[in-house]
């Protein structure tokens, strides 16, 4: 056969997509590397917080109220990030708070994502009255201010972990439904969906094997961004007193607690705020990276590095030049 591959990556059509090329790519991209490392670090801290904390996050000490960072303590460990108004170790509280904030963000994204995606798939694939019903409901839900709805529901049913996750999911599933429906509408008209039907695939199989996998990359990116959003929302709700209840800890709660001492104990709000900020930032960077990597048509660019990719594009033409 003498046909030439006139497009796509060099090296005879395939850049190896595996652990080593991903690692090599990460080393070329320090910002993304930082985001990934931070998120990995955060994940470890969140999961193992109860065993990693240097101090008992609940232990109060009136002698050590609002002490600045690096204050020595009785048990030999420094209070690395200082202590709060009740003399509790800030680092330990932030670590325990990470467990709460991160898990709420992830769980909230999973719950709202699953529900929203299912609704969007039904609306986009079956159209008709199901579409009308679901999307008008989405419109109504989007009409309410998110935080107000959350506050109202939490006021009625009470705060706490499970309620917080459910309320956050309730206020955020619509975005998944909209995105999913839009892309499903486009995908269901694709010839390969006709093709699947032509070989005898049923609705369920078409949705799960041909439509959903093509939605996965954008949805994953959306969900990553949503985790950041949900962590911020959780912080806001906890800050307002409707989320996680003291003496448990969450990042928003720490900011809230430190607010009264902002002039005398800057470290309370600063470090809690920095944790929220860095997490949201890393998640956003991570989402960008995930998008590049999850697209089988485009990922070779990132895997090869910008310089090589540009050279390839100038030399032989890349996938966009396909006619």
């Amino acid at each position: 056969m003498t046909e030439s591959t006139d497009e796509g990556p060099p090296h005879n059509g395939k850049v190896h997509f595996g652990f080593r090329t991903i690692m090599a790519g990460l080393l070329r991209d320090p910002v993304t590397l930082f985001a990934c490392l931070f998120l990995a670090f955060l994940a470890i801290v969140a999961v193992f917080a109860p065993w990693l904390v240097p101090h008992d996050p609940m232990a109060q000490s009136l002698a050590l109220r609002n002490r600045p960072p690096l204050t020595p303590s009785e048990n030999g460990f420094l209070h690395l990030l200082g202590t709060d108004a009740l003399g509790r170790d800030l680092l330990s509280r932030l670590m325990m708070g990470a467990q709460v904030s991160v898990s709420i963000g992830v769980l909230g994204a999973v719950v709202s994502g699953s529900f929203g995606v299912i609704m969007g798939l039904i609306a986009g694939y079956y159209r008709g009255w199901a579409d009308d019903l679901i999307m008008r409901f989405v419109d109504v839900m989007l009409g309410f201010p998110t935080l107000l709805v959350a506050l109202f529901v939490l006021f009625v049913v009470g705060g706490g972990y499970v309620n917080l996750v459910l309320v956050l999911a309730l206020t955020r599933w619509m975005i998944y439904a909209r995105v999913t429906r839009g892309m499903t509408l486009a995908l269901r008209e694709e010839p390969f969906v006709d093709g699947a039907r032509a070989v005898g695939a049923g609705d369920f199989r078409i949705i799960t094997r041909h439509i959903l996998p093509n939605l996965l990359a954008p949805l994953l990116v959306l969900a990553t961004l949503e985790v950041a959003r949900l962590i911020l929302a959780e912080s806001a709700l906890s800050f307002l007193g409707f989320g996680i209840q003291p003496p448990a800890s969450s990042w928003g709660l720490e900011v809230s607690g430190g607010r009264s001492y902002i002039t005398t104990a800057w470290w309370l709000v600063s470090f809690s705020g920095a944790a929220i900020f860095l997490t949201a930032l890393s998640l956003n960077l991570f989402a960008t990276w995930l998008r590049a990597l999850s697209d089988p048509v485009q990922r070779w660019r990132w895997l090869l590095g910008k310089k090589v990719a540009v050279a390839v594009m100038n030399g032989t033409g890349g996938p966009e030049h396909r006619t």
Binding site: M1, E3, S4, T5, D6, E7, G8, P9, G13, K14, E189, E190, P191, F192, D194, G195, A196, R197, A198, V199, G200, A201, G202, R205, R209, H210, P213, N214, L216, A217, P296, V297, P319
Partner: protein, 338 residues
């Protein structure tokens, strides 16, 4: 193959008086009107026509993939091995699709799922209809890729569609279409997106696979050259209707409809003294309008008064048997003239 043989074999796929309409913003579009044809095992029937003549829609009707609810079949029957497809439940229908009737699409890149490896997509046939596991389906996919002559199949089976060239992609499509040895294969413009040398390779491959499996092949094309090499019989469509049918030789040598004659005159020929190519004057009618009389009459050099008044029926020509027909008021004159 001789005509004698065909007459003794019952048709595999029979389309009878098929009409398809689309509801659009500008009104109802009659994409296909009263189309009938039949395919027997081992036979290739070519459906010729220009864009918008309804040839693809008629194929989609057979597989039940017309875009609903806009499009609907308003009349007719489609029988496979005597079973009426249009009255089947979707479940029974999907068992016929792929297993007995398969289709190759025009744009292979669009017709393959970009997020699945080609091995998964070819193997899907075995997983859907044979309940095989992923591993086993992959092995079968490699065999099929070998069969359609994709080099290094064992490695390429893990590649994505965009990593293939146009011709190779078309081979992938063919591999998945023939996976379960269907009795009828419908190829909708299988070579239109390819360059000429690759076209020839693909058509050759299709021809081989057909005679190997004794498949009935419905080849949909606008390219008389592509059709000329492989078709046994030809059905010419214009504005959603069949206007002429017959064996390849009859239709190409002695067309009995002015439209077919016009198509054949507009092909550049090397074996005739050079003369200017004769295009068919005018443009195909807009699908939204209905033309009184014969739909071809505004463009027809043979037009007489009756053509603007009465729609000519598809009628048998002379003593050539029922498969030789033309829908023209002056078919016998056209036939003699050319």
């Amino acid at each position: 193959m001789s005509d004698q043989l065909f007459k003794t074999v019952a048709p595999l796929l029979e389309v009878d008086n098929l009409s398809v309409e689309f509801q659009t913003m500008e009104g109802v579009v009659r994409a296909v009107t009263g189309l009938s044809y039949a395919v027997k095992a081992g036979e290739t029937i070519a459906i010729l026509g220009e864009s918008g003549s309804g040839k693809s829609v008629s194929a989609e009707a057979v597989l039940g993939i017309i875009d609903a609810p806009a499009g609907r079949i308003t009349s007719g029957t489609i029988r496979f091995n005597g079973q009426e497809l249009l009255r089947m439940s979707p479940k029974e229908r999907s068992r016929i699709n792929g297993e007995h009737v398969a289709m190759i699409f025009q744009d292979a890149l669009a017709a393959l799922n970009p997020s699945q490896t080609v091995g998964d997509q070819i193997g899907e046939m075995f997983r859907l209809h044979r309940g095989m596991g992923r591993r086993e389906a992959f092995m079968r996919a490699i065999e099929l890729m070998d069969k359609v002559r994709i080099p290094a199949a064992a490695q390429r089976v893990h590649a994505y569609p965009h990593e293939f060239s146009g011709g190779m992609r078309q081979r992938v499509m063919i591999a998945s279409a023939i996976a379960l040895d269907p009795e009828v294969l419908i190829a909708d413009e299988p070579t239109t997106a390819l360059d000429v040398t690759v076209q020839a390779q693909i058509m050759e491959l299709l021809g081989e696979l057909q005679s190997e499996g004794n498949m009935g092949l419905v080849l949909i094309s606008h390219d008389l050259g592509v059709v000329a090499d492989v078709a046994d019989r030809v059905l010419v469509m214009y504005a959603g209707r069949a206007v002429e049918q017959g064996t390849l030789r009859e239709v190409y040598r002695t067309p009995a409809h002015p439209y077919t004659a016009g198509l054949i005159n507009s092909i550049p020929r090397l074996d005739r003294p050079s003369h200017r190519l004769q295009p068919i004057e005018g443009t195909p009618p807009s699908p939204h309008t209905t033309i009184a009389g014969c739909p071809f009459h505004p463009r027809c050099p043979w037009r007489i008064k009756i053509c603007t008044e009465a729609l000519p029926a598809m009628e048998q020509i002379g003593a050539h048997g029922p498969d030789r027909a033309s829908a023209c008021h002056r078919k016998n004159e056209v036939l003699l003239h050319v």
